[in-house]
Symmetry: D2
Subunit: 292 residues, 4 copies
């Protein structure tokens, strides 16, 4: 169910809040106040106005708003007692079905954080892997209250930007999609490496394993991830170079010097383009971050 | 206890056999026949003469000689009832202390091979990883008898060459040592990458895990393996690039695009030089087989 | 003045010949015979039919047709007494205004070729540099008559394909355009190298010097040649890497290790895509043939 | 005619000055004063003591000393009326036989410099190409007197260090030799590129053209310059890759994509090691500054 920016610009307050009041978790007052700033030239301008309403709110109201968010990987998540958006976001990383050990770790982190700040830890889950969430959880628990309040509001910005983009159609949408792609060049034969099989793994202590697999096309290219933000974390591309050269009939040692070529890298900008090419011969390879 | 080639060239038959009669497993007759070909200009020539004696022997004698070798990973190995050389060679790969599952796999392979050829599977263990032994065991069990006899004698050549080189001092030793080395160049800063930590892993279904670790020297170099033959198999070098650039104060993303850089390759020539350099920036890397 | 394939398919013989009779130099009989093969599904099919008419003609007619072509760089070219198409093709390489030495060289080659074969040397000039024309002129003068006749007809194919594509609009045009492009990646900074100045030179004994210059765009890309066939020959891209890093404020030696980076390569396929990227730091660079 | 450091340490003042008094141009007083600081543990310590004597001298004496040096490329150089050391140093760059235009340029620079500072322009000629001398000549003429005096004394240090190292044998010689080398790896075939022909050119407005040529050895290596300092300036290595692959029988396009591969770089540290490798296939190449 989407609505157009034009419709929103023309809406009265009640209609406006009915349409986008749930973008901010249990915080329809944000939409109420943003309504006054109509018309919005772009979807990004609407989002800015809503964030401005949050930032302009009194501290007590901000804190109450933050307290309205569910714990990450906590009892509420397990019980499924969250807004639909939160369910989908946490569920995408499996945070609603942690095993006992993982659950206990989140419980400890949630308790320590709540004790220190008085509101739950908030993070734009869809921009993270479990490993990067755990790393930030631990780091941010050491913040002072002002720094952490700013961090929490910044994450609210990421979360609501994604929700808004999914709900409102119109010009000037803020950039929320990242992209991961590869391109394989065979410099032993001077042409793109077509039909090379490759896999993409997320790596890390609590990683989700193989998340994509592809065969390069006639131009040696393979799109890998293109919808939604990339997740901050560490990845490994695995290029099946040995099988490729065997299928081309290119002579190799026994066993071939290169069979599976791993390329490991980290994503730090969820909305960025990570182009990770491989320039390869049976005896060498080069990779670099392209895109950007 | 070594002996010089000069001493061997001057020795009578009894002394000669006493010195090098055990190079060929339970086959002192090989040394007896090679004695006649003295003097030898090089250690390699002595080895050639001994192999020539084996190849010139009647088929029945060759088969008896092959039957004198212990099974790989078999009961005899477990019981320690082998020549000292065989104990050391099999022990180096842990073939004398396999777990039950591994033991059962070798039992099956030994039985199938013996049924087909009537002598035990012979391979120069010190030139192999467990994975490459298992791969060759299965492949060679499919050979016809003439091909397999030639393969077994070729492996006898590898085994005895190593034993002879350890026992006889003199000119013209055959090449038995391989070498594995690396060199890291930092092309963001235009200089060798000094003090980068790196590890070498053997990889594969039954691999021995981390087999070397080193810090690059001021010239960016690290010797890794240099004594004895390399083992045919698959390896992974792991370069700790992220920590290196952090220690240099070079700016990076959070997390850094490159943290641990894996380089995976296979060794096919145990006596070769595998130089596996890394040319690296915080955003790219190149590797190739040097040496050779 | 173009005509559509549909119009040609509907045309009577006179109209047809009036429209495309001059595609083949002084050879309107080719169009006359091809007319019978209407309708043509594609422009390529029309061209095939015309070439088929040439190949099916009796030897004497073929030779008369070949003799109707002007000499390369000869008196006729100088005097401008050629068809408009020939003028434009030869003029594009300056073959109509050679200096005395060059003119003399072409005179000698034309004389030797004519003596041997009895018709003038024919080559698709727009697919060549002067150097590659001279190299082929000398090589082909050594051919036997059958090989050379085939070579001449093959070049007629290239020449007329280009003329036809310029004149006839319609589906299924044969590929006549090549493409040359570059892309610069700065792996010291992990991003495309924007605003790097670069030049493209043709190199060789009789080369035309700088033929393109560009500044890379925000994505590090620069299209260089995209219209018409590339010319077979040797090229040098010159990337002004020193100025780029100076403008980025990246520290360098005095003088910088890399100032102007030359990349020299040859084009062998005029209709191909030559993508010639540069992956660069202040201390290193990599290039390869992409595209293809 | 060399002398040992031991002999110098044992020498009386007259013998000491006779031996090393001419290291500093028309400045035997430098040796006289350094004599008192004997014994010297290293040749470097002797040089330091001599430079210390110069730096400790009164300004008028320093200026007189500087005035005792010949002009670069001036009338005195032309007439050959210089110390033997100066003749050899200037002659190595051809500064004693400039053509009229070059001579006039040096005359102008010498006149402007002398007018401003009252002493001739001094530079360690053996560490420079003509281009880098001219660049520094123009730049330094803009200095204030204190900066320029320091620059002149620093160059005196370079000049006399080379003279001293040539004359005195003993431990702890200061480093005066640079080194330029290359190494070619063929990653299409996974081995060093043996027997590849390559040339080294000095490039620039007044460059000396081809200064070395070599064939790579079996390991793909070629030492190029190893004796004396490198000259600050711009160089181009030219690797004959096309001929190499043709001799290996590796298939290529016609003409080959890579024929002669130029690698252009600048030397900024005359006493450094510039290792400039090429990692090459018929379709790609990589180079970087190694050594260092």
């Amino acid at each position: 169910m989407t609505i157009s920016l034009d419709q929103l610009n023309a809406a009265d307050a009640a209609t406006f809040v009915a349409a986008v009041g749930d973008i901010f978790e249990h915080g329809s007052w944000v939409a109420e106040r943003a309504h006054a700033a109509r018309p919005f030239a772009t979807v990004a301008a609407l989002h800015d106005a809503m964030m401005q309403a949050v930032r302009a709110a009194p501290r007590t109201e901000q804190l109450a708003f933050l307290r309205g968010h569910p714990e990450l990987g906590g009892r509420v998540a397990r019980a499924g007692a969250m807004t639909d958006d939160s369910k989908s976001e946490q569920g995408g990383l499996g945070l609603d079905r942690l095993n006992e050990e993982e659950f206990a770790r989140f419980e400890r982190l949630n308790a320590a954080y709540a004790l220190r700040f008085g509101f739950p830890f908030i993070i734009g889950v869809r921009r993270h892997t479990r490993d990067s969430i755990l790393a930030r959880f631990e780091r941010r628990t050491g913040n002072d209250i002002e720094t952490e309040l700013a961090a929490a509001l910044s994450e609210i910005g990421y979360i609501t930007r994604l929700r808004l983009v999914a709900k409102v159609e119109g010009p000037g949408k803020p950039k929320t999609d990242g992209r991961l792609s590869t391109h394989v060049l065979d410099t032993a034969q001077g042409r793109p490496a077509a039909n090379m099989y490759l896999e993409l793994f997320e790596v890390g202590a609590s990683a989700r394993s193989c998340i994509a697999a592809a065969m390069t096309d006639a131009g040696g290219r393979a799109p890998l991830l293109a919808s939604g933000p990339l997740r901050i974390g560490t990845y490994q591309l695995q290029f099946h170079v040995g099988a490729y050269y065997a299928s081309c009939g290119v002579a190799a040692a026994t066993p071939p010097y290169l069979e599976m070529v791993p390329v490991r890298f980290a994503v730090a900008e969820p909305e960025g383009h990570y182009h990770v090419p491989l320039i390869v011969t049976p005896w060498s390879h080069t990779t670099y971050r392209g895109g950007g």
